[in-house]
C-alpha cells in the first residue's frame, strides 16, 4: 500500500527474474554443469525440508530417509526395469511420499525433541534397509544409472541438457512450495507453528495438517534424491545416512529457516564448500561445516537471509522512507 511496499514487491520480482536469468545462463558461463546440478538438487532438498521446519515448525532429523531412499528407488527402476527417467523419478517421489506417510503417522503424535528422535530412529531403519537390501548394492552403491531419454524425446546424457531439465524441475518445485505456503493451508500451518494450542482450540485438526506437510516435504525431498541419482549416475548409502539429515538442517539454518531463498543460499554455500575444499583440504571440510553450524546457532539463528530481512525490517520500522538499497 505504501510507496515503499510497492517498490519492494517490484524489486522482489526483479530479483527473482534476475535469479532466473542467472540460472538459465549459468552453463554458458563455463561453470561445470554437474556441480550446478548437484547444487540444485540439494537446494531443492533444503527447500523441501524448510517447508516442514520453517513453515510448519517441525524439526525432523530423518529426512535423509526420503532423499536417499528415493535415490535408490529411482536408480533401481532405471537399472533393473529400464524405466524412462520421468517414470523412475515419479516412482522415487511416490515411495518417498509413502515413507513420509508411514513415518509421519508414527512421529506426528509427539512434539519437539521426541519428534526429532522418532524421525531419527525411523530414518535409521530406512538406512538399514538400504544397506541390507540386495538391490541396493550395500556399501558399493547402485552404479551405472543411465539418464535415458526424457518422454522418449530428449536425451539427457549431455550435461547441458540435463542441467536445464533439473533447473526447470527446481523452479517448478520452488513455485509449488511458494504456492503452498501462501495458500490458506499454508496460513493454517503458520498458525500451528506459532501457537498450536490456539489452533486446536479453534477446531483445526492439527495432526492432519502436520501430516500433510510432512508428506509433501518427504515427496519433494524424494524428488531431489531421484534427480540426484540421474545426475550422478549412482545412488549411495551416503544419501540415506543421518549425516545427510544433519547437513540439510545446516543448509536451512545457515540460509534462513522460514525464508524462501534461505535454503537455496544455504545449500549453495555448503555444496560449494564441500566441492571446492574436498580437492584441496579434504579433512578440514568437516571442521569448517562444524564451525559454521556453531556460529549460526550462536549468532545467526535466523540464517543469512533471515538476518538480512530482519535488518531491512528494522530500518523500515525506524521510519526511513528510502527504498531498500539495490
Amino acid at each position: 500500500m505504501t510507496p515503499t511496499s510497492i517498490t519492494r514487491a517490484k524489486l522482489t520480482r526483479i530479483g527473482y527474474l534476475g535469479a532466473l536469468v542467472l540460472l538459465l545462463v549459468a552453463p554458458l558461463l563455463g561453470l561445470y554443469p554437474v556441480f550446478l546440478m548437484q547444487l540444485l538438487c540439494f537446494a531443492l532438498f533444503a527447500c523441501a525440508f524448510n517447508l516442514l521446519l520453517g513453515f510448519t515448525g517441525l524439526l525432523s532429523f530423518g529426512h535423509a530417509a526420503f532423499f536417499g531412499g528415493a535415490a535408490y528407488i529411482c536408480g533401481w527402476f532405471v537399472v533393473a526395469e529400464h524405466w524412462p527417467p520421468e517414470l523412475a523419478i515419479l516412482a522415487g517421489v511416490a515411495v518417498a511420499a509413502l515413507l513420509g506417510l508411514l513415518m509421519g503417522l508414527l512421529a506426528i503424535r509427539r512434539q519437539g525433541i521426541y519428534f526429532a528422535m522418532i524421525t531419527l530412529a525411523l530414518a535409521q531403519m530406512v538406512y538399514f534397509v538400504c544397506l541390507q537390501a540386495p538391490f541396493t548394492g550395500g556399501e558399493d552403491g547402485l552404479q551405472g544409472v543411465q539418464r535415458g531419454t526424457l518422454f522418449g524425446l530428449l536425451p539427457l546424457r549431455p550435461d547441458t541438457v540435463m542441467y536445464y531439465f533439473v533447473a526447470v524441475v527446481f523452479v517448478l518445485s520452488f513455485l509449488l512450495i511458494s504456492r503452498i505456503v501462501h495458500s490458506p493451508y499454508g496460513q493454517v500451518l503458520k498458525m500451528i507453528r506459532e501457537n498450536e494450542p490456539r489452533a486446536i482450540s479453534l477446531g483445526y485438526q492439527v495432526d492432519r495438517y502436520k501430516l500433510l506437510a510432512f508428506v509433501l516435504s518427504a515427496a519433494l525431498s524424494g524428488l531431489a534424491g531421484s534427480l540426484k541419482t540421474l545426475v550422478m549416475g549412482f545412488a549411495s548409502l551416503e544419501g540415506a545416512h543421518w549425516a545427510t539429515s544433519g547437513e540439510v538442517i545446516l543448509m536451512t539454518l545457515v540460509g534462513g529457516v522460514g525464508t524462501f531463498f534461505g535454503p537455496v543460499l544455504g545449500s549453495g554455500i555448503v555444496v560449494a564448500l564441500q566441492n571446492q575444499l574436498a580437492d584441496k583440504v579434504g579433512a578440514w571440510v568437516t571442521v569448517i561445516i562444524g564451525v559454521i553450524f556453531v556460529l549460526c546457532v550462536l549468532a545467526f539463528r535466523r540464517g543469512i537471509v533471515g538476518e538480512v530481512l530482519a535488518y531491512f525490517e528494522r530500518r523500515r520500522r525506524l521510519g526511513t522512507d528510502a527504498p531498500p538499497a539495490q
Binding site: 525433541i113 530412529a121 525411523l122 538399514f128 579433512a283 571440510v285 568437516t286 571442521v287 562444524g290 546457532v297
Partner: protein, 294 residues
C-alpha cells in the same frame, strides 16, 4: 544343548559380549542423561567427547609414556575440562532457547572435534595395548573371555552406581537437581548455580572420556568411534527415559544384551534392533521405561 537351534555356547557367548557393549552404552548414556536431566541439553557431542577421551589416553601413552591406570584418571579430567570450556563458551547462551538449539550446537561441536582429529590422525585407527595386569583370558567353558572385557563390565557398574548415588543420594546432587528446577531460588540460598551447571556438564563429559579410555584397548582408537555410537546412545537414553539417570544406565545394559541376542539369530539386524525398540517404546510409553513426565 541347543536354544532355538543355536548351540548354547554361541548363545551365551554373544550375550556376554552384548553385556560388555551394554556396559559402554550404560556409561555413555549416563553422561547424556545427566546432562539432559540437569541442563535440558541434548549433547550430540557425547560421542565426540568419548573419542577425545580415547585419544587422550593414547596420546598420553605414546607421547608421554603415561600408562593406562593414570590415563583412567587423567583422560576424564582432560575431557571434563574440555566440557567445562564448551559449556562456558557455547552452551551457556542457549538455555533460554528451545532445546533443539542445544542439539544443533553440540552437533556442530561434534563435527569440529571429529574433523580436527580426522585431519590429524586419518581414520584407520591407532592401536592401544591392553594393560598387562588385565591381559590374558579366562576359559569360561562356553567361550574364552578376555579378562579385560570382564574388567570393563565391572568398572562400568561401579561408575554408574557411584554417579547415581552422587546425584540421587547426596547433598550436592540435591542442590544440582534443585538448581536446575528453580535456579533463582536456589541461588538466593547462596548456592552458585552457574558453577554447578558448568561442573555438571564437565562431569557428563568426563564420564564420556572415561568410557573412551576404557574402550581404547578393545576397539581401535579412531576419530570415527564417537559418531558410530552417538545415534545408538540417543536411542538408549530415549528408551530409558530422558530425565532418568538410572533408567538410561539400565537401558544401556539391557540394550547391549538385546543386541547380543539379535546377533545370534540375525546378525545384520543387530544394528537396527535398538531403533525398533525405541520406536515401540516411544509409541507405547513416550516418557521411556523409567521416565517421569507424561
Amino acid at each position: 544343548m541347543d536354544i532355538f537351534g543355536i548351540p548354547l555356547q554361541a548363545f551365551l557367548g554373544q550375550l556376554l559380549l552384548g553385556l560388555v557393549n551394554g556396559a559402554f552404552y550404560a556409561m555413555l548414556s549416563l553422561g547424556l542423561a545427566v546432562i539432559f536431566g540437569m541442563l535440558g541439553i541434548i549433547n550430540f557431542a557425547q560421542g565426540a567427547l568419548y573419542m577425545v577421551g580415547a585419544f587422550a589416553g593414547w596420546i598420553m601413552l605414546t607421547s608421554f609414556g603415561i600408562n593406562y591406570w593414570f590415563a583412567l584418571v587423567l583422560a576424564p579430567l582432560v575431557v571434563g575440562i574440555l566440557g567445562v570450556v564448551i559449556e562456558r563458551l557455547f552452551l551457556r547462551h542457549l538455555y533460554k532457547l528451545d532445546p533443539l538449539y542445544g542439539l544443533l550446537m553440540t552437533f556442530g561441536l561434534a563435527q569440529i572435534m571429529e574433523g580436527l582429529f580426522r585431519r590429524q590422525y586419518g581414520v584407520s585407527g591407532e592401536s592401544y595395548p591392553v594393560p598387562d595386569a588385565l591381559a590374558g583370558a579366562t576359559n569360561l567353558g562356553f567361550m574364552v573371555l578376555p579378562n579385560y572385557r570382564a574388567w570393563v563390565v565391572l568398572a562400568s557398574l561401579v561408575v554408574c552406581l557411584s554417579t547415581w548415588f552422587l546425584i540421587e543420594r547426596t547433598r550436592l546432587g540435591a542442590y544440582l537437581r534443585a538448581g536446575t528446577e528453580n535456579a533463582p531460588l536456589v541461588q538466593a540460598f547462596g548456592v552458585n548455580v552457574p558453577m554447578m551447571v558448568m561442573l555438571t556438564f564437565g562431569g557428563g563429559a568426563a564420564l564420556a572420556g572415561l568410557a573412551g579410555v576404557l574402550a581404547a584397548p578393545i576397539i581401535q582408537v579412531t576419530p570415527l568411534m564417537g559418531s558410530n555410537l552417538i545415534i545408538v546412545l540417543f536411542a538408549v537414553v530415549v528408551i530409558g527415559g530422558m530425565g532418568s539417570i538410572l533408567g538410561s544406565a539400565v537401558s544401556g545394559l539391557l540394550l547391549g544384551v538385546v543386541e547380543g541376542f539379535t546377533r545370534v539369530f540375525y546378525p545384520q539386524g543387530s544394528n537396527v534392533v535398538i531403533f525398533v525398540v525405541m520406536v515401540i517404546v516411544l509409541l507405547v510409553r513416550p516418557a521411556g521405561l523409567f521416565g517421569k513426565e507424561a
